[in-house]
Symmetry: C2
Subunit: 476 residues, 2 copies
């Protein structure tokens, strides 16, 4: 079955040739922007432009219609007015196109009878013409390994483990941007808009089967084929974690969703109960989606609830300890005592003044010498009472008071001590307006695979979600 | 009564002379850092240094003891070992000092009998010597109007409307930093640590009476004189909004709080119920404190719940509308229909394609011409169905695609249209790692007095809290 699904989606995510219908010499046109991004991303398949006006678009020959293209076309991006789509789809059928992605809007989401009728028509044409439709009213796919950018978006990330399904084109784009900033990388992402033909069930089936995808994220406003979708979620989440943010939860939100992607959303309470039962992790915003994925990337089974906290590295201290413990317990995690042996050994390493020798361990704003820091991190990670360690580091202050190389050296100690052990370490680096230097250091930390959060709150929530997910999976 | 309180606190917040005991020529010493910050901040009163070692510290003559200082001393900062404090307090009494701030720690928070005994002793000495104590185990006061910095902190902000009480020195410092980034300015702030003499009741009485303070914020781990404190909160919050973040809410947090400031915290549920009844706004983190204060600074009575949303300025669009509506409704706000007249007029201004003409109004990623933008903002703010307007602007994208001057021009239209009316406008500028240019533009927007948040979630929560506060006040 997996083989069949992968084969069915081959031309969706790995097209060998792409035609952009609506690309021209006018850079203000969406079609041109799709084409331009595809060219500059370095997509290696054949690229064609189609438009009634002849000439070239970003170095690509423009054909007057699809039929005139000499080679085969796997995938067609449609960025032309709705009125011209019907004829184009006939051409797609004649040309043997496999996938049609409609950026064009004005279908079911318009709420008009005409729009609804036309959406039915394009689906019928797809069935008869043996091609699949992504959309309409969507940005389509993003596949870094194929150098296929997200629509007109000009930057492209590295390939990675996250598969993402977005009903909203805008949220898809914002999530890619947020992901780049958080060092989250994608196997593939799809914005599917109205999902007239291929819908959330299809995409979920694919990501479940796709060997490149280890974690599945989604932004959904509604669900088609609800029973099948739930059943599928239940199966998938025993193998791969699934994190979903549901938009259109409230009446006004649902109304906006209806005119956004023509979605009919059900009550959020019903939705949330169903998700929990299916083992899905529910997020409440793009930021929470990103946070949860950051945690899922590095905390794996068996994951425990017992958290050790080290605070006051370069600022903060006592208040941060209180906050850290509150945040963890508030999320259902535990903040246990260190073992007597750990206390004894840490006690022999640190000066009594300024240190509070318990869990949370408060370093009182100062940084011990690197060999001592290494021993402390090692001791805590090795403590049999501890499943996971959160270290709070005030990067802004550290970068202000130390040389960059010194901060790197401190972080290298954290990273190497962590990598030498089998327990997760999570960093909290508080900041609203991080300086460029602090931001760079944060990214450097993150690029080692270490999860980095900006607050104890988000760290604790993301850890708790991840641990709960593995507990649920284990209970089955 | 107010006059008495202001007089009592005159030497606490407006000392005419300050002596730093423990300052020396050694820059690594805390005392030296307190003195150095005081000198470089430009404090205009007399500054003295006291230490057994003679010489100078940052240009200030060092006296061997307090008694040797020729002039009068209002305020003494104590940064010497605990063992030397008793003698110093006798000197303070002899010298006629009015306020003693103890950075020195090792009292009740140590949990030792010795520490508890010594804390009682210093309070007795203060009573007998007719001076007041701030602390022990604290950073003391911050008063920008007097150019008194926050302990050793090297930067000082502008004077402003926010009075802040912090039981934690670290959180006090972090809050000042966060406040600088969010353009929140202080009348005064105090970190009071163990609060052995002057406690949260005293400081709250002062901020209630202080004409410079319009909004009161606090981080507390525990409360002394609980009944009096609650009664006072009830009174104050009918006149000035009070926002409190309570730390040590959970068992582990409370344990950390006990060793942090010797605080004994009560059940958080009990606390929260009492706060709600007293009309206090409860926050759950420093970030929420800041967000709430940003909202309180610009949304004043009569504040209504009916929110208009404009999304998709420079990015986002449909998905953002759904999110914005969900966030507002989720916080108990309303997202009403625009009046027919508003719809008609906006409809005549905007192209039908790409625009979704409802509330939320989705501009579909593009920015209309400035005269049109001005009319739209004006129409929505003037709509009788609307109490408040949230505009989502993707500053990062705008700064990437337009010139800085163009973005400024757009923002100027927003600001001037808002200032010409009597309804609040709130900006949402999503970002995790804002570019320096976007950050500067965000700060520029914020410096006009416009509240700026990074997500619909935080905007909606802060607005809802502010509106609820005014509703509560009106209901009394």
């Amino acid at each position: 079955v997996n083989e069949d699904i992968l084969k069915k989606f081959e031309p969706v995510f790995y097209p060998k040739s792409i035609a952009v219908v609506g690309a021209s010499s006018d850079d203000a046109k969406s079609g041109t922007q799709f084409l331009s991004a595809l060219v500059s991303a370095g997509y290696q398949g054949s690229i064609y432009a189609v438009n009634r006006s002849a000439g070239k678009s970003h170095g690509i020959d423009i054909y007057p219609d699809l039929i005139s293209i000499p080679g085969h076309v796997d995938y067609v991006i449609v960025a032309i007015p709705r009125i011209a789509v019907s004829q184009l789809l006939d051409d797609c059928a004649a040309k043997g196109v496999k996938v049609v992605q409609l950026f064009t809007a004005g279908y079911r989401e318009s709420g008009t009878e005409e729009g609804i009728r036309l959406e039915k028509e394009i689906v019928e044409k797809a069935h008869r013409g043996h091609f699949r439709i992504i959309g309409p009213n969507c940005i389509g796919i993003y596949n870094p390994s194929m150098k296929i950018p997200y629509g007109p978006m000009n930057n492209i990330g590295e390939p990675g483990p996250v598969g993402f399904i977005s009903q909203s084109g805008g949220h898809g784009g914002r999530f890619i941007e947020l992901a780049m900033e958080r060092c989250i990388n994608f196997s593939k992402l799809v914005s599917f808009g109205n999902g007239a033909d291929l819908d959330c069930v299809d995409y979920l089936e694919y990501f479940a089967a796709d060997p490149e995808t280890k974690i599945i994220g989604a932004y959904l406003e509604s669900v088609s084929r609800g029973r099948r979708f739930l059943e599928l979620l239940r199966q998938v989440s025993t193998v791969k974690p699934v994190v979903i943010w549901k938009g259109g939860r409230t009446e006004a939100g649902a109304e906006a969703a209806a005119s956004h992607t023509g979605a009919l959303s059900s009550s959020y309470a019903v939705w949330k109960a169903a998700m929990t039962q299916a083992g899905v992790i529910a997020a409440e915003s793009l930021e929470e989606l990103a946070d949860t994925i950051v945690a899922l990337e590095s905390i794996v089974s068996p994951a425990g609830r017992r958290v050790a906290i080290v605070s006051g590295m370069g600022g903060g201290g006592g208040g941060e300890s209180v906050l850290g413990a509150d945040a963890c317990i508030g999320q259902g995690l535990e903040v246990p005592r260190f073992s007597d042996e750990t206390r004894r050994q840490i006690g022999s390493l640190l000066p009594p003044a300024g240190t509070i020798l318990r869990n949370p361990l408060d370093l009182g704003g100062s940084i011990p010498g690197l060999p001592v820091l290494e021993k402390i991190i090692h001791l805590i990670l090795a403590d049999e009472n501890v499943d996971i360690l959160i270290v709070q580091e005030h990067l802004g202050k550290l970068m202000g008071s130390l040389l960059g190389g010194q901060v790197s050296a401190i972080n290298n100690v954290l990273v190497s001590t962590w990598k030498a052990q089998y327990k997760p370490l999570v960093m909290v680096t508080p900041a609203w307006a991080p300086s460029p230097a602090a931001l760079e250091m944060e990214k450097k930390l993150r690029s080692t695979g270490l999860p980095v959060f900006r607050s104890f709150d988000t760290a604790a929530r993301s850890i708790a979600r991840t641990v709960s997910y593995y507990e649920h999976r284990k209970s089955l």
